[in-house]
């Protein structure tokens, strides 16, 4: 499908990027002379950047491919090339079937137009025909849960509402090949889940999907095959699960830690602000690949600004999205919430050794004032993989977790005694 696809960019100052008329004219004039004088010691232009270089891969009909990699690895450029927004510098790609691409939800939304009008406009922009939109209009509105605000100008919508409407339109685009860039990183948690469900549906309908995401949980769930990009090239491709595991093992784009950054914009409110979340092993190292035989520590660091009864919680989910358990830092004190004086805190949770099976895990953290309000929820904010093939507990056994539980083994009778007691019950005291 794609053979040695490459894209060269010239980097530099704004003037360079845009080009100025005079510059281009003078370059044109100088060009013949440059041929004469510069030949032989042609200097490599340092400002050249191959955003995508020699990317070759093939996607089968109906396959869902997840494209992962660090920021700037060329994922979005690759999608731009495949969706024909920009032309490749070298190489070729062949797409068989109608192509729909969503590099952004709500592209072309016009703030002055109403929700209804924007459904039509945005639908047409992402490639639906007028009759497509007419046919699916009710479905779109129902999906967005925005029927009441349909005749309100979009500029009066909250950003969450805009995203809802935009995604509802996008979700009803039905090309044979769907190209999606990280569009699920928006909206509230409940709506995100709904969107994920829809994406899963699309992938299961036998449509071909190319999906870029930083969310390892999502790609592992939705995609069959993975493409890991690094510095514009393909670092690895293969079954999604394997690619994700390798990617995380390599440092995984800091998947094992999350820094909230700017305290003013960090998740939270004037009661509490999150500072970061980290996964550490028993030696205190922040790692994303852990040994199943050793405990795993999850650290949630936050600033308490007002003394209120607080509860910090974490939830562990598997790559398939199954929630394994939820635990809170108020559990041990057996209280709903614990008053904490203002200050910087770290809530550290120990996930015991020999509990998790081999695989990928995703952690959601939240903080709340129980029964009053939720301060923040960050879905799948960090992830890690549990490895160690020689774990005490092999991973072939059935079940979501493989805890090492306490067993007591007691011999209650001898064999000859049992022969004698053949008709007696096996164990007394029931």
């Amino acid at each position: 499908m794609s053979e040695g696809l490459s894209k060269l960019y010239r980097l530099g100052t704004g003037a360079h990027m845009y080009g100025r008329l005079t510059e281009s004219l003078s370059n044109g004039l100088k060009a013949p002379f440059r041929m004469v004088f510069r030949r032989g010691h042609e200097q490599p232009i340092e400002e050249d950047l191959w955003a995508v270089k020699d990317v070759s891969f093939e996607v089968e009909d109906g396959e869902a491919v997840g494209i992962i990699g660090r920021n700037g690895a060329g994922k979005t450029t690759l999608l731009k090339l495949l969706s024909r927004i920009t032309e490749p510098t070298e190489g070729r790609a062949v797409l068989r079937g109608s192509v729909g691409s969503l590099l952004e939800v709500g592209t072309g939304f016009h703030p002055e137009l109403t929700g209804r009008e924007n459904v039509y406009l945005n639908g047409a922009i992402i490639g639906m025909t007028r009759s497509d939109i007419n046919r699916r209009f009710n479905e779109i509105v129902e999906f967005s849960e925005m029927a009441r605000f349909l005749d309100t100008p979009v500029k009066r919508y909250s950003s969450g509402m805009q995203v809802r409407l935009a995604f509802a339109v996008a979700a009803h685009l039905e090309p044979e090949i769907l190209i999606v860039d990280e569009v699920l990183a928006v909206g509230d948690a409940a709506f995100q889940r709904k969107c994920l469900g829809k994406m899963g549906e699309v992938a299961n309908q036998g449509r071909t999907v190319l999906f870029v995401s930083h969310n390892m949980s999502v790609v592992s769930r939705l995609c069959d095959r993975g493409l890991w990009m690094e510095g514009g090239r393909v670092a690895m491709q293969g079954p999604m699960e394997n690619v994700v595991r390798e990617y995380l093992a390599s440092g995984g784009g800091e998947a094992a830690r999350y820094d909230a950054g700017d305290p003013a914009a960090a998740p939270g409110n004037d009661v509490i602000r999150l500072r970061g979340v980290r996964i550490r092993d028993g030696d205190g190292r922040a790692v994303s690949s852990l040994d199943a035989r050793r405990p795993i520590f999850v650290e949630i660091e936050y600033v308490v600004l007002q003394p209120r009864p607080l509860r910090t919680a974490l939830r562990v989910a598997s790559a398939e999205g199954v929630i394994l358990f939820t635990s809170t830092d108020a559990d041990e004190e057996d209280r709903v919430g614990v008053d904490r004086p203002p200050g910087v805190y770290v809530s550290r949770c120990e996930i015991p050794a020999n509990l998790l099976k081999r695989g990928m895990y995703f952690i959601t953290v939240s903080s709340s004032i129980p029964r009053v309000m939720v301060n923040f929820v960050l879905d799948n904010v960090v992830s890690f993989s549990v490895d160690q093939a020689e774990a005490v507990l092999d991973d072939n056994r059935v079940g979501l977790i493989a805890p090492s539980l306490a067993w007591e083994i007691e011999r209650t009778a001898r064999v000859d005694e049992q022969m004698a007691l053949r008709d007696a019950p096996l164990a007394q005291g029931e």
Binding site: L21, S83, I85, P88, S101, G108, H110, E117, A124
Partner: protein
């Protein structure tokens, strides 16, 4: 949209104009025009009346400055306001369409960066809402003619052709400028300047009969000169019959348009990177 087979590769040479693809995306063109029409007059008091107000205000100014103060000669027996208005209607269509088409790529930069569609749709659809305005403004000519007691003649049948010529001129220029504008931001500053220069070399404030005989053939190479005088001739018989020079300027438009289309297509390949 409904391509069953797409090959993506670096294009070389002139390539194809991709007009059939343009046709497949006609719904998008329709929605862009529809958007512009809806948005233009949202949250305005006068709404669609603006289409008339703009040329009407210019008409009043022209009638006062050129008709009264400078006492410019206009064809005898033709009310001056009508003379100016009849010229301003196609001029407004041209200047607004040209300006809209010229800044269409830049104006829709976010779309261009995120979505694929034939970029030609942008300058093309940018002119659409001006056509609606034009029809409104034109209908007011008829109202004025009725008020002045001037009847229609068979010559109005030429109006569609003259309108088409105004649109083609605007499109051709807009096409070139929009592609240049995406790459070289200098061009943006040239747009109002170009319109201003054309305003003076088009017979809006005066009649083309005042142009010296020797210069007239060159003067009419400006397609808009032929269009404006053509409108006056067709509506109120206030200008000479459009001559062969107008035909020649129309004939010149065609190759320039085709060259412009190729230039635009060529720029289109990388426009998402530079915009």
């Amino acid at each position: 949209m409904r391509d069953s087979f797409v090959e993506i590769r670096p294009s070389r040479g002139l390539g194809k104009l991709g007009l059939s693809e343009l046709w497949r995306y006609r719904d998008l063109t329709y929605f862009f025009v529809w958007r512009d029409v809806k948005v233009t007059y949202k949250q305005t008091i006068f709404g669609g009346a603006w289409a008339i107000i703009q040329p009407l205000l210019l008409m009043i100014v022209f009638t006062f400055v050129f008709g009264t103060v400078l006492n410019v000669q206009t064809p005898p027996g033709v009310p001056k306001p009508l003379f100016y208005y009849a010229g301003l209607v196609p001029w407004t269509l041209f200047s607004a369409s040209f300006a809209a088409a010229a800044s269409s790529l830049i104006g829709n930069a976010t779309l261009v960066r995120k979505i694929y569609f034939p970029r030609l749709i942008l300058p093309l659809s940018a002119m659409g809402s001006n056509c609606v305005d034009f029809l409104v403004a034109l209908s007011f000519v008829f109202v004025m003619m009725f008020a002045y007691g001037i009847g229609l003649s068979w010559r109005v049948l030429w109006l569609p052709l003259l309108t088409l010529m105004a649109l083609l001129t605007a499109f051709t220029m807009g096409l070139l400028i929009s592609a240049l504008n995406a790459r070289y931001r200098d061009v943006r500053y040239a747009i109002p300047y170009i319109v201003q220069v054309l305003l003076f070399v088009t017979p809006l404030m005066y009649s083309s009969t005042q142009i010296p005989e020797r210069v007239r053939p060159f003067y009419f190479l400006n397609p808009m000169a032929g269009v404006v005088e053509g409108f006056r001739w067709a509506l109120i018989d206030a200008a000479p019959v459009p001559g062969p020079v107008t035909l020649i300027s129309a004939a010149i438009l065609v190759p320039v348009l085709i060259a412009g289309l190729y230039y635009f297509r060529n720029a289109e390949r990388t426009v998402a990177d530079v915009i």
